[in-house]
């Protein structure tokens, strides 16, 4: 097996080859531009909607009188709408933008019939709109991660069908013989997600899985939608971006393959740890505890691989926005996954289950890891699609620090508050009133964190709108850096050679 040919081959660097490769890349990017930017733009719209809903829910939890007379904006509905907006709006649509573009780039194949993909995007957005508005108006299902009322899923299913088919079509038309690890992850994700979603919808809403089989299916889905849909694409994106930006091949091909297959095997077994202590057969949660512990294998494989690739290049985090977001996400991936493995242990879960600790963990995953990597990808990808650089490095800096400090406060506050909440819930001598009062300052810290994160998202939106509207410089003189790097050595991508995708 050729070692990461795409990234390493130092083929002759003749100007003609490079010009040809650049022309090929430009053609591929041009074919993706419409659909990918459409998915990216609608992802950002949902990111904003989700952030506002999040902020409202967060404040309501420590200030219960805020808008309390409004049925539409009662905590429960806002909380569910937030999850839908973020999970299926922002995260999923960003994931689709990421996987389409990377699949085209890595396969060296143009996107055919891009209009149908736009149709998929429109369908998805209709479903998404129906889901959020339906929940707000009182049609929610109260099945976590699947709150969307029954009229939304058909749109998602149609859209996912088109997206999966197109991704496979691009892959089958590939001109690049080597299949890079990112493509493995993408192919896995576009296969797993539709299956997961269909099984969950079917068993929970359309057939008669009642009783405790429902939460079993529910958490098999809820856990896997993160592990087998967002995670593979985000990890794959880090595998793509880090070598691209620092201009150096991935450390170990074999580690990346071990990482992929062990993720595929173990992650899907891990979901039942959400039900530890619940009324399900004991062997189910034990099986998932084992699966969760085994997850250390893929996580450490990816962590070592990314770290070794970055070694000696960490100073570049000072310059490259895309790299900084991506590496932040990659580090958060290691942290959140190791934490998750231990949370699946019974002794640990006894304390943290049913508390805000779990909420902190979930956000370290979907925000610290997935969202940050998606931001990184957008900073890298959008200029290549629009032909314009980012208009302001200051705004990027604002975005980064708001997001990074925001998630840090979020995680720290709810982890500490949640841990002690759990300890006190386990002690029947502690009155419930005391627990509620105890958590208030931590819930308040979450609102501060949420305000910061939302401010960051606004900066990001302004940048994106300016870029698409043609406000930035033409892309000629290299990317927008936080500060100019000392030498031209950072322009890695151009240096790898014509086969660089």
């Amino acid at each position: 097996m050729a070692t990461t040919a795409a990234m390493t081959t130092t083929v002759d660097d003749s100007a003609r080859d490079r010009a040809q490769a650049a022309a090929e890349r430009a053609a591929i990017d041009a074919s993706c531009r419409g659909p990918v930017l459409f998915f990216a733009a609608s992802a950002i719209v949902w990111l904003l909607v989700g952030s506002l809903l999040a902020l409202l829910a967060s404040v309501k939890l420590h200030t219960p009188y805020l808008l309390t007379a409004s049925p539409e904006l009662t905590f429960g509905r806002v909380r569910m709408a937030h999850l839908q907006a973020m999970g299926y709006g922002w995260l999923s649509l960003a994931t689709v933008a990421a996987l389409l573009w990377q699949m085209c780039r890595l396969s060296r194949a143009e996107l055919v019939y891009p209009k149908l993909l736009i149709l998929a995007g429109v369908l998805w957005n209709i479903g998404q709109f129906l889901a959020v508005v339906g929940i707000i108006l009182g049609d929610a299902t109260s099945v976590e991660w699947l709150e969307a009322p029954a009229y939304a899923p058909p749109f998602f299913i149609a859209a996912v069908g088109i997206i999966s088919a197109w991704t496979v079509a691009v892959f089958r038309r590939r001109r690049e013989p080597h299949v890079y690890v990112t493509q493995w992850y993408i192919l896995g994700a576009i296969f797993w997600f539709p299956w997961l979603y269909l099984v969950a919808q079917f068993m929970i809403f359309w057939s008669t899985a009642v009783g405790v089989v429902q939460p079993i299916v529910n958490w098999w889905f809820g856990h896997n939608v993160i592990g087998l849909w967002f995670t593979p694409v985000a990890v794959g994106t880090a595998y793509y971006l880090i070598p691209k930006i620092i201009g150096r091949p991935i450390h170990s091909y074999y580690l990346s393959i071990i990482g992929f297959w062990s993720l595929a095997l173990f992650y899907s077994w891990a979901g039942m740890h959400h039900l530890i202590g619940g009324p399900i057969p004991g062997w189910l949660s034990s099986a998932s505890t084992v699966g969760s512990m085994m997850m250390l294998i893929p996580v450490l494989a990816v962590a070592i691989n990314h770290h070794m690739t970055m070694r000696g290049h960490f100073h570049r985090l000072r310059y490259s926005p895309a790299l900084r977001f991506t590496v932040f996400g990659a580090i958060a991936y290691t942290l959140v996954s190791v934490q998750g493995s231990f949370e699946a242990l019974k002794d640990f879960s006894e304390v943290t289950h049913f508390t805000h600790y779990t909420v902190a963990h979930a956000h370290l995953g979907v925000y610290g890891f997935v969202t940050m990597i998606m931001f990184g990808l957008f900073y890298y990808m959008v200029p290549r699609l629009t032909g314009r650089e980012w208009a302001s490095s200051t705004l990027i800096r604002v975005h980064f620090w708001c997001a990074a400090v925001g998630i840090a406060i979020y995680f720290a506050g709810l982890s500490i508050g949640g841990w002690w909440q759990g300890r006190m819930l386990n002690n029947p001598n502690v009155p419930f009133a005391h627990i509620v009062n105890y958590t208030l300052p931590y819930l308040f810290s979450r609102s501060i964190a949420g305000t910061l994160m939302t401010a960051g998202h606004l900066a990001f939106t302004v940048l994106f709108v300016m870029n698409v509207a043609g406000w930035g410089q033409q892309r000629a003189g290299g990317p927008t850096f936080f500060v100019e790097p000392p030498s031209a050595s950072l322009s890695g991508p151009q240096r790898i050679g014509p086969r660089d995708l």
């Binding site: 309390t68 068993m203 087998l228």
Partner: protein, 273 residues
């Protein structure tokens, strides 16, 4: 073999393993559970929801109660703490009187959806119908939880109630709450000092009469600020004369559902520990 095929088959195999193991197998195993009937004269347990409780479940779903309330009682052996003598103890759920025993899969036989919940911002509700069978308490609590527990962070649900002018007699369903909770349903009302001065000027005698009717042993010196404030505090706890708060159909259904939540009550052989 084509690389795409390898990935496809591998992804199929790994994923199917968990689908078979975690979904299909438990589905088979649990699919045949039957209600429990100790003797022929006993009613089988559990019973499906009946009457308006079914609609109440919809209200519970629509308003996301599950995101703050679980519905499962965990085992005697679950979770630990140390008592005053430094001894390690376990099983807080039952000691908090959230149920007489742990809940098991059979308790959920007819639940659809099964709202086990993942968060305990509020207490567990698996057994709330047994723990607190008073419909009136639930109504006053839902209208504004702070009327029952001042420290509560549960949202008010005033939209499950309506405030209406009393025609004829006060309705039997009217909530028994002082005017501080009913003037602005969902919020806590208190007149500003100016409003209170005005109220005293306009209807001082009536207000005093109303208060003395419910607290005949009290005396109020209305020439002092302190006496006026005490009168206000008392007056706020008396019901409004012309208006009443009654549950809407949704409100009644929701409380019927809460009262039907009686898991962890009937003993089940498999729940013994």
């Amino acid at each position: 073999m084509d690389r795409g095929m390898v990935i496809f088959l591998g992804a199929l195999f790994t994923f199917s393993s968990s689908w078979l193991g975690l979904i299909v197998f438990p589905f088979q195993q649990l699919g045949h559970e039957q209600p429990y009937q100790k003797s022929d004269s006993d009613d089988p347990y559990p019973q499906p929801l009946q009457g308006i409780a079914v609609a109440g479940k919809r209200v519970y779903q629509a308003n996301g109660c599950m995101y703050c309330h679980s519905q499962q009682v965990r085992s005697q052996r679950f979770g630990n703490w140390w008592d005053d003598n430094g001894e390690e103890r376990t099983g807080a759920d039952i000691k908090r009187s959230w149920g007489l025993r742990r809940t098991v899969s059979r308790d959920y036989l007819y639940d659809n959806p099964t709202m086990l919940g993942t968060m305990r911002t509020g207490p567990d509700l698996a057994n709330i119908g047994v723990r607190n069978p008073s419909a009136m308490w639930h109504h006053t609590h839902l209208l504004n939880p702070r009327s029952a527990n001042p420290w509560s962070i549960m949202p008010s649900f005033p939209y499950l109630y309506k405030r209406e002018k009393i025609v004829g007699d006060r309705s039997e369903k009217a909530l028994l709450l002082g005017r501080e909770w009913t003037v602005h349903p969902g919020y806590r009302w208190r007149p500003t000092p100016q409003q209170w001065d005005e109220l005293l000027r306009e209807r001082g005698a009536t207000i005093l009469r109303q208060v003395l009717a419910s607290a005949p042993t009290e005396t109020f010196d209305l020439t002092t600020a302190d006496g006026q404030k005490r009168l206000l505090d008392f007056w706020l706890t008396t019901p409004e004369e012309d208006y009443q708060i009654v549950p809407t159909a949704d409100g009644e259904a929701l409380v019927a559902y809460l009262l039907a939540l009686r898991k962890a009550e009937v003993p089940l052989p498999e729940a013994k520990e």
